[in-house]
């Protein structure tokens, strides 16, 4: 049974002449954890702003939890943590939590306080005095205090040190395990999401180049290493990218692995191989 909680159909968005998103179509299933990956400027933040209704699309439809996204503010059941983790700098953490309580109809105060507690942040500390890690965890407590069914996070782990990064990831995964929250998070660094996500959506130049379960994506690609023209060995697969490697040229190929490829070395593709192949400038896609 599939239960789509978030979808776009043929969504396009331009800023003046600049097409930021084109023909964006996808469905996100309840309970999945999606990594939205793309280079800087690929359209990740625009996509998220469209989902929460901060921007409206030029074309296409966006649906969140069964409702069309409109002008009536963020859908209840959806939380969004923007890249800069906006909080009021002069508020104390306690005041920030009270703000969450009084501006949200659905608010789980015990849960939000527990998350702040677990982060080791004092409620009397001022927001502006917090480290980036603590700031993120307070912002996350506010986003999760709404007890969202869908949580959108724009670059949640950027500018965090490795310890804070891990703690934030743990908080997110615990929430997903306990409440079945659907999570979509963007990053331009895939490695920080590889263990956390089960689904990948790759944006390049405003288009979704690749989307699906992580396991399927890696098994649908392979790496071919050798010299010369790979078209014979590739068969009906398609070459995604080529790179000069130590043992000759290396090609990332989408398709079934050839049963035999004389003169070529055939390897399993890692997620990194695949993502880099699609993001690289030499990509044929």
């Amino acid at each position: 049974m599939t239960d789509t909680v978030l979808s776009m159909t043929d969504v396009g968005k331009s800023f003046r002449r600049n097409k930021v998103l084109e023909n964006c179509t996808f469905d996100i299933e309840r309970g999945s954890v999606t990594a939205l990956v793309g280079s800087n400027g690929a359209g990740k933040s625009t996509l998220m702003s469209l989902v929460v209704g901060l921007l409206s699309p030029d074309t296409g439809q966006i649906s969140v939890l069964g409702n069309q996204v409109g002008q009536r503010g963020i859908a209840s059941g959806l939380s969004y943590l923007a890249q800069h983790k906006p909080l009021y700098p002069r508020f104390t953490v306690g005041e920030m939590l009270r703000f969450g309580r009084s501006t949200n109809d659905h608010w789980d105060d015990a849960y939000a306080s527990e998350l702040v507690d677990a982060a080791g942040v004092s409620t009397s500390a001022r927001v502006k005095s917090l480290s980036p890690g603590h700031r993120t965890r307070v912002a996350l407590a506010l986003a999760l205090g709404r007890r969202p069914e869908v949580l959108l996070l724009d670059e949640p782990l950027a500018d965090l040190d490795p310890v804070a990064r891990r703690e934030v990831a743990q908080t997110l995964m615990r929430d997903a395990a306990e409440h079945g929250t659907t999570i979509v998070m963007s990053s331009h660094v895939l490695s920080e999401l590889a263990d956390i996500a089960d689904t990948l959506m790759l944006l390049r130049r405003g288009r979704i180049q690749l989307s699906g379960a992580l396991d399927d994506i890696t098994s649908e690609h392979y790496v071919l290493i050798g010299e010369g023209d790979p078209s014979q060995a590739v068969g009906d697969g398609s070459v995604v990218s080529e790179a000069i490697g130590s043992g000759g040229k290396s090609f990332v190929v989408r398709g079934n692995r050839p049963a035999s490829a004389p003169g070529w070395q055939v390897d399993n593709a890692t997620l990194d191989d695949v993502v880099l192949a699609y993001l690289s400038d030499r990509s044929a896609a």
Binding site: V33, M173, R174, A177, D195
Partner: protein
């Protein structure tokens, strides 16, 4: 009890690592029939991995007839992989421990010792590493 670890550089998918570690614990008797596996929430909270990874591992262990989910309670061990010979576990471990100490005293390091054990096992079994999945 079992505490899982994920080696991110091993190239082995995380769920397979969880399955292998559980089987290892069942084999050496760290987990016995009736024991509860950690909840998905505990595992993901500790390792920062996707909950579906844990569920996938547990489903595979269930298919193998080793564990059983009990709704609302958790996942429990229903079969052991420990052979009767594992009763000798303490004695064998002590012997091995003395052997390792002997090797270290002789100036060998971990990879030397691993090579010695591997070659002794190879000589005994004449096959190419039957790694059970």
């Amino acid at each position: 009890m079992i505490a899982y670890r994920i080696d991110r550089h091993s190239g082995i998918p995380a769920y397979v690592q969880l399955v292998l570690q559980t089987k290892q614990a069942l084999r050496i008797g760290d987990l016995v029939v009736g024991d509860q596996l950690p909840t998905a929430k505990d595992v993901v909270g500790a390792l920062a991995i996707n909950p579906n990874t844990v569920l996938k591992a547990y489903r595979e262990l269930e298919r193998d007839g080793l564990v059983e989910p009990r709704p609302g309670l958790g996942t429990f061990v229903i079969a052991s992989l420990a052979k009767p010979g594992m009763a000798e576990k303490t004695a064998l471990t002590n012997e091995l421990d003395r052997w390792v100490a002997h090797g270290i005293a002789a100036g060998l390091d971990r990879s030397d010792l691993e090579a010695l054990i591997a070659s002794a096992l190879d000589a005994r079994y004449h096959d190419t590493g039957d790694i059970e999945r």
